[in-house]
């Protein structure tokens, strides 16, 4: 039904566009007046008036219809004598009624259910009919209103501008609100988690073994069990593993990325630059899962082999392999961003340095890099926040056990890996184990937020200096 309505609204709007355009044209010729806007604006004006009120109405209606029908039906069923003790049972009965209506219910149908299903069918019918009538009413009303307006040669251009501005505003509002929604859902689930697990036990605990909380849900947990869970959610091994792998990644990415950025910006000829810069940036376009199996299947076993030759025990899922591959993945971020900031250091500074007799490398080391430093720091921080948020490589190559270790040859785990592990498979939603994923997500979000904020401040400060 909704699709038919949408289709009709589209057809009406389109035909109104052509109508409005030609109508105003003929008005202007007939009465020999100058229009207040180009004819096509009158077309747009009609389209917007025909479609937006109807669409908004349809959206609001579709949101509220199921809720209203549900409450009416549950009430009718209760009046018929159906008995339910809580919300869940009421929902169950409602679902049964719906299934009977659709003919997909195969249980016993008693008179209460039968009556309710009939009532349901009746209400659905009433609601659908009134929806269609109302929509057409709205379309007719708004079209009559807008036609009258354009016949009076209104300032359609300005009106269209205002409506378009409103549309753009609503779009950005949706983007912002969904982001806020995600943040708040993280926050609320985390609060639930922290009502079971003490936040200090979480932040400073050194043991991470959430599987212990698997069987129990939070509402029926006993004091003894709670005591046992106390040290199951220690965050320290995860942040340690995350930082450790990110650190190894930065050890790889910062020098190589920075040096290649300097080469690209200062030494490479235009020709070399034009070819090699996109090639470096391709590295950033490789899906992380590809890096992941490269790390897990090639680099990890290779390190293990090499380690064995030296008599070292190397876990096949090692922090070193994951960090190394992650570092390679991040090189293009560092190199491309630092290339950009080095490039925007004004040539006049280099000239000033050459003019007192400095060589190219002296100039780069003592003038260009210090001038670009805030921007370079910003690009490194962005890379760090990319590294700690990276998931696929560490899931595949870093291991799952929460080891508190600083041996790069052992396996270790990260925040992102644990979130994946917790949420893969069947979950009970109010188990502390599941909720811990939200707490981890929130922690990760806050960490990257702070890093990004500092990075952007640094980059901005740098820009202000030279603009």
């Amino acid at each position: 039904m909704n699709f038919v309505l949408l289709f009709l609204i589209t057809i009406f709007s389109l035909s109104l566009f052509f109508y409005g355009r030609s109508k105003t044209k003929s008005i202007s010729i007939e009465k020999n007046i100058r229009l207040n806007a180009l004819p096509k604006f009158y077309g747009y004006y009609l389209v917007l008036w025909c479609s937006i009120p109807a669409l908004v109405f349809l959206l609001v209606w579709s949101l509220f219809e199921p809720v209203i029908i549900k409450s009416i039906i549950i009430e009718t069923a209760a009046n018929q004598g159906a008995i339910f003790n809580d919300k869940n049972e009421a929902n169950l009965i409602y679902e049964k009624i719906k299934a009977i209506h659709l003919g997909t219910y195969f249980g016993d149908i008693d008179s209460i259910l039968k009556e309710s299903a009939l009532a349901y069918a009746k209400f659905i019918n009433i609601f659908t009919n009134s929806k269609v009538v109302l929509i057409f009413g709205i379309i007719i009303a708004s079209v009559i209103y807008s036609l009258k307006k354009i016949k009076n040669n209104n300032k359609a251009r300005d009106d269209v501008e205002v409506i378009l501005k409103g549309l753009l505003f609503v779009s950005s509002l949706i983007a912002i609100l969904t982001t806020l929604g995600i943040i708040f859902s993280l926050l609320f689930e985390s609060i639930k988690f922290f009502s079971v697990i003490n936040i200090f036990d979480y932040l400073f605990g050194t043991n991470w073994s959430p599987q212990r909380a698997f069987v129990r849900d939070a509402s029926s947990i006993t004091v003894a069990e709670l005591e046992e869970l106390k040290d199951a959610f220690g965050f320290i091994p995860l942040i340690a593993g995350t930082s450790f792998i990110a650190f190894i990644a930065m050890l790889v990415a910062v020098p190589i990325g920075l040096f290649s950025g300097i080469y690209m910006a200062e030494y490479a000829s235009i020709k070399v630059r034009r070819i090699s810069k996109p090639i470096i940036e391709i590295l950033a376009g490789i899906p992380t899962v590809v890096y992941g199996f490269f790390a897990a299947l090639t680099v990890g076993p290779f390190f293990r082999q090499v380690g064995e030759n030296f008599g070292l025990t190397v876990s096949s899922e090692s922090a070193l392999a994951a960090g190394l591959i992650m570092g390679i993945m991040i090189i293009p971020y560092v190199s491309s961003l630092s290339d950009d900031v080095i490039n925007s250091v004004p040539q006049s500074l280099r000239d000033g340095s050459y003019a007192v007799g400095a060589t190219k490398s002296e100039t780069i080391k003592q003038v260009v890099i210090p001038a670009a430093l805030p921007g370079i720091i910003g690009s490194v921080l962005l890379a760090v926040s990319r590294a700690i948020g990276e998931t696929m490589i560490v899931v595949m190559a870093a291991g799952l056990a929460a080891n508190l270790t600083i041996n790069p040859l052992e396996s270790t785990t990260t925040i992102t890996t644990q979130i994946v592990m917790i949420l893969v498979g069947d979950q009970e939603f109010d188990s502390p184990k599941t909720q811990s994923a939200f707490a981890l997500g929130l922690t990760l979000f806050i960490a990257t937020l702070i890093l990004n904020y500092i990075a952007q401040r640094a980059v901005k400060k740098y820009r202000e200096k030279y603009d």
């Binding site: 006049s348 050459y354 003019a355 007192v356 001038a371 200096k465």
Partner: protein
């Protein structure tokens, strides 16, 4: 009449396919100010950038012909550019202090050339350079502050101090006052008068009045050619060439 410090013979400069200078023959006298005038894009800046080989920075730039300083061929492929630039300093159109402290801005050059090995020697160089550029009194109490915190005119004098710091023989100035207000300009002009006692100065300028005020010799460039050169007084009062006459009286340019 002073000795000839720099001598160019049949100097040609090309940027890619475009020729920017055509057979320029120009002599610059020692401890004198030579002003180069002419409409934008006429090759004045290109010429002075030949003197300290700054054109090397531009990949597509090619220089042919001869340019000598005290008989040494500046254009020689084997010439040590670093020591050339130690002898020929440059001040640019827009003040370009490094994003470092005032002190570090001045000590940068001497350090690169291994001058001022002890802290006190370096302090002395910084002080002398700032005194010579008439900036010392204004900044002596805040040498740690960034050079970029100074006003435009002060920044330009800082850049002059930076050029002086390595004790050059020649100072090239590429429209040093074009970004400055009249008061700051007057200070720089005064400074140039003072500096010519020690240094050979070449100044590119768009201001006829400035050329008259500061220079002893003036060269007029047009479309990459040196049209006329002579004593400043003669060029501005009684030029030989009609084009020079037209330019200085503002009929074109």
């Amino acid at each position: 009449m002073n000795n000839i410090k720099i001598k160019s013979k049949n100097l040609n400069v090309y940027y890619g396919d475009k020729q920017a200078l055509f057979d320029v023959n120009l002599d610059l006298n020692e401890k004198e100010v030579t002003a180069l005038i002419g409409p934008s894009g006429c090759g004045k800046s290109t010429f002075i950038r030949c003197i300290n080989r700054m054109n090397d920075v531009i990949d597509i730039c090619k220089v042919t012909g001869n340019i000598e300083m005290d008989g040494m061929n500046i254009n020689d492929k084997d010439l040590d550019v670093v020591s050339l630039r130690e002898r020929v300093g440059m001040v640019f159109q827009k003040p370009n202090p490094f994003p470092k402290s005032i002190y570090d801005n001045i000590s940068y050059g001497p350090k690169i050339h291994g001058k001022g090995e002890t802290k006190s020697e370096l302090d002395q160089i910084v002080e002398n350079s700032l005194k010579k550029s008439a900036l010392w009194e204004e900044v002596k109490d805040r040498l740690d502050e960034p050079g970029t915190s100074l006003s435009g005119g002060q920044q330009q004098r800082l850049c002059i101090a930076r050029a002086i710091s390595v004790n050059p023989e020649v100072i090239l100035m590429d429209e040093p006052c074009s970004a400055l207000d009249p008061i700051a300009t007057a200070k720089i002009e005064e400074l140039i008068d003072e500096l010519k006692k020690t240094y050979t100065i070449v100044i590119v300028t768009h201001s006829m009045a400035q050329a008259v005020r500061v220079s002893q010799k003036t060269g007029f460039f047009h479309l990459g050619k040196l049209i006329e050169v002579g004593n400043t007084e003669k060029i501005f009062k009684n030029p030989d060439n009609k084009m020079t006459q037209d330019y200085i009286t503002g009929r074109f340019g």
